[in-house]
């Protein structure tokens, strides 16, 4: 009888997975996702594309917060940098869209490096405030650097063109996001298995101990900020192509807090947790919208204030989740898996 899951060689340890069933399910999931736009209407395809785009940014945030233990409330700032970099590069400098996506990631990574510098001296709440300040600064720069960013009027962006094909439809943006998300997941999983990922985990668990073991805190902390910002920048770039219009209102501070709630609900330090968290929060939002819509359509007094209830319901679900399942959905999944793997000896 199987009494646990043991990895017995280094090769197995660096493999993405040593479980063929898991691999098969992963490919089936990708296949299902690839077929989804064929059965979904334009609205739901657009919601799913938003899930995929958000997941790219959230994986980046989870690498920083969940894996490296560096809190950030300023990821809306990196998202804004990515979106505006794409808008400026494609609309004002006619840089091809696909190159602009990559460049936007690198530009956001550069800002990540700048924000990361204070992280060498700050921890916890102090770091949270510093990163939040970054998001505020970015918002003010966008509003005031009118010649570059069009100020609060915002930017209208042409659809992404690749070899004459226009990514105008929701399905095309969905497929683009899916491809980039798959690459992001593979990249993040491999990073976590490399010496970089192990160094990040070391820093998260005990930075002084990690330093004693020879891990260069400066290099790895800054790298975590840069990689995280890179993914957020890429997400911002695709978001710009999806929306075709960006302005400062799309990157409020609340977005950074919502992003943190996604990784907490999904599971800190877990790539699949990041994706599950995004799905949970975005679809919860839709579920609340549909539920409140039922009452809103009745035309009664309740319909007047029902939309205010949305935020309340949304908040209550998250609070209850954190109270009863602080390890997130992936934590619960691990518990269930362990229970059945070790049954009847689970305790």
């Amino acid at each position: 009888m199987r009494s646990g899951h043991f990895i017995e060689s280094y090769d197995k340890l660096v493999n993405l997975t040593d479980n063929p069933v898991k691999m098969a399910w992963s490919w089936i999931l990708v296949l299902v996702l690839a077929l989804a736009p064929l059965v979904l209407d334009s609205f739901w395809t657009s919601i799913c594309a938003t899930v995929l785009i958000t997941a790219i940014g959230i994986i980046g945030l989870n690498l920083l917060v969940g894996t490296t233990g560096q809190i950030s409330l300023g990821h809306s700032g990196f998202l804004a940098v990515g979106a505006y970099a794409t808008a400026i590069l494609t609309m004002d400098y006619q840089v091809p869209g696909i190159i602009a996506i990559l460049l936007s990631g690198f530009i956001a990574a550069f800002f990540g490096l700048i924000v990361g510098i204070p992280s060498l001296r700050l921890k916890g709440l102090y770091l949270a405030i510093t990163t939040m300040a970054f998001a505020i600064i970015i918002n003010h720069v966008i509003l005031n650097a009118e010649d570059i960013t069009r100020g609060s009027e915002g930017f209208i962006i042409d659809p992404l063109q690749v070899f004459g094909f226009s990514f105008e439809s929701d399905a095309s943006i969905y497929y683009l996001s899916l491809i980039i998300l798959v690459l992001t997941v593979l990249g993040a999983l491999n990073l976590m298995r490399s010496h970089i990922g192990r160094a990040w985990v070391g820093i998260r668990d005990h930075d002084i101990a990690a330093k004693v073991m020879g891990i260069n805190l400066t290099t790895y902390k800054l790298l975590a900020f840069m990689v995280s910002a890179f993914f957020a920048g890429i997400a911002g770039s695709i978001l710009a192509f999806q929306l075709q219009y960006i302005n400062v209102d799309n990157f409020s501070l609340l977005l950074g807090i919502e992003a943190l709630s996604m990784i907490i609900v999904g599971g800190l330090g877990s790539i699949s947790g990041s994706i599950v968290g995004v799905i949970f929060i975005i679809f919860l939002n839709e579920l609340v919208r549909i539920t409140t819509g039922i009452f809103a359509d009745d035309g009664g007094t309740m319909s007047l204030y029902i939309h205010e209830m949305k935020g309340l319901l949304y908040g209550v679900v998250i609070v209850l989740f954190l109270r009863f399942e602080p390890d997130g959905i992936m934590g619960k999944w691990r518990d269930i898996k362990n229970y059945w793997s070790n049954w009847p000896f689970h305790h």
Binding site: F43, T50, G151, G154, Y245, N247, D249, H307
Partner: protein, 402 residues
């Protein structure tokens, strides 16, 4: 054999025709024999819900009124409203939902200024008629978008009239003027009107102070404004800012005449100002709800009393009247199209409107080829803190686009 093959070809052609949707009697999106589906996106949650709810309530009144009359050309109206929380990305998502899932025929309201810009590519692509009266910005009509029709006045027009009003009606030709404005495109538009007014009426501008979006404390700006020796404050506040300016002014003993733009003409602003309200003025393009001697206001308020409950009735404000004007304009275009209702017909009829009267709620509505902005005359209202109402103090005057 030949006959069988011909039948097959005919059947194939019919199927293809069906798939491509080239059947001769193709129905218009959002229109059936007995209903027309109208979409609306409003900020119904969060602090801007003050605007969105009032707009949505007016649509409810209009729909109830029209449906009780038997609809337009025999078709009853159905409203599908969505909340965007005042986030442009959400506005776009909701517009997509309303267009592709709910198959709305037209839009009455697409939230705020940048929110309409966010959905503009979608509206252009889908050719959905829109009447916008909630927030008018020059980017909405310059360059013109074929299906988007705007009615009202820009902030620039309102603020230019603020100076004219102060000079001609309050006798403040020799006064000193100061402006406090927000550091964004709204503020830019406010300042545009202020500068136009200063130049046109030759009044003395003693200072212009910019504040940051989202700022809550204005003590520094008010101190600086007072130090200029100004006695007329042109307020570029958004909503609550107007009240905060006056409260700060009272705190430091600055006796000033404040003139704000149309959002100052909201009961919550008046309520927030309690104790500091010296009878401030607001410039608007719709009259106060209490001005029932104007036929349009009376008609709307009577219907609102009939179709809304007490709580809903209390939620009405100047945005409701603006929304009602948009509804009347849309109704007229649909009416003119008759039985064969299509989006292109509505766009054509909207475009051909020439001085269409809306019961004195706004100036006559006029569009034209390449003209997607019907300018409405602006008027001044004064706060009556004792009665907690606003009183119209001037008749509407059209300020041209400069």
């Amino acid at each position: 054999m030949l006959k069988k093959q011909t039948k097959k070809w005919l059947l194939g052609a019919l199927c293809l025709g069906g798939v491509l949707g080239v059947t001769p009697a193709q129905a218009e999106v959002g229109v059936t024999n007995d209903t027309i589906v109208i979409g609306s996106i409003n900020p119904l949650s969060g602090s801007p819900s003050l605007l969105g709810r009032a707009h949505w309530l007016a649509l409810q009144v209009w729909i109830a009124e029209v449906n009780e009359r038997g609809g337009i050309n025999g078709r009853k109206l159905k409203l599908i409203a969505e909340d965007d929380g005042y986030v442009p990305a959400r506005t776009r998502q909701m517009a997509k939902k309303l267009i592709s899932k709910d198959n709305v025929f037209a839009f009455l309201g697409t939230s705020g200024s940048s929110h309409l810009l966010a959905v503009m590519p979608l509206l252009d692509k889908e050719k959905v008629p829109v009447v916008n009266t909630l927030a008018v910005n020059s980017a909405h009509f310059d360059p013109p978008h074929p299906t988007v029709f705007n009615i009202g006045a820009t902030y620039c027009m309102e603020m230019e009239y603020a100076i004219e009003f102060a000079v001609n009606h309050l006798g403040k030709k020799d006064s000193k003027y100061v402006l406090i404005y927000q550091d964004d495109d709204y503020g830019k538009d406010t300042r545009c009107g202020y500068l136009n007014g200063v130049e046109r009426y030759g009044v003395k501008d003693v200072g212009q102070f910019k504040y940051k979006r989202g700022q809550k404390d204005f003590s520094a700006e008010i101190l600086k404004a007072k130090a200029t020796g100004a006695d007329v404050l042109i307020s570029g506040g958004v909503v609550a800012e107007h009240a905060i300016f006056m409260k700060e002014a009272k705190k430091i003993g600055w006796d000033v005449t404040m003139i704000g733009m149309h959002a100052a003409h909201l009961p919550p602003v008046q309520a927030l100002m309690t104790g500091a309200d010296n009878g401030y003025y607001a410039i608007d393009y719709v009259p106060p709800l209490t001005q029932t001697d104007i036929p349009g206001v009376k008609r709307f308020m009577d219907n609102a009393q009939k179709y809304l409950d007490e709580k809903e009735y209390k939620g009405l404000n100047r945005y409701s009247l603006a929304s009602y004007v948009g509804s009347l304009v849309m109704e007229e275009a649909i009416q003119q199209c008759g039985e064969a209702l299509t989006r292109s017909c509505v766009v054509e009829k909207l475009e051909s409107l020439d001085n269409f009267q809306v019961g004195g709620l706004m100036s006559g509505v006029t569009f034209g080829e390449g003209n997607r902005f019907s300018i409405s005359g602006v008027l001044a209202v004064q706060s009556q803190p004792e009665e907690k109402v606003f009183k119209m103090v001037t008749d509407p005057k059209v300020i041209p686009v400069r």
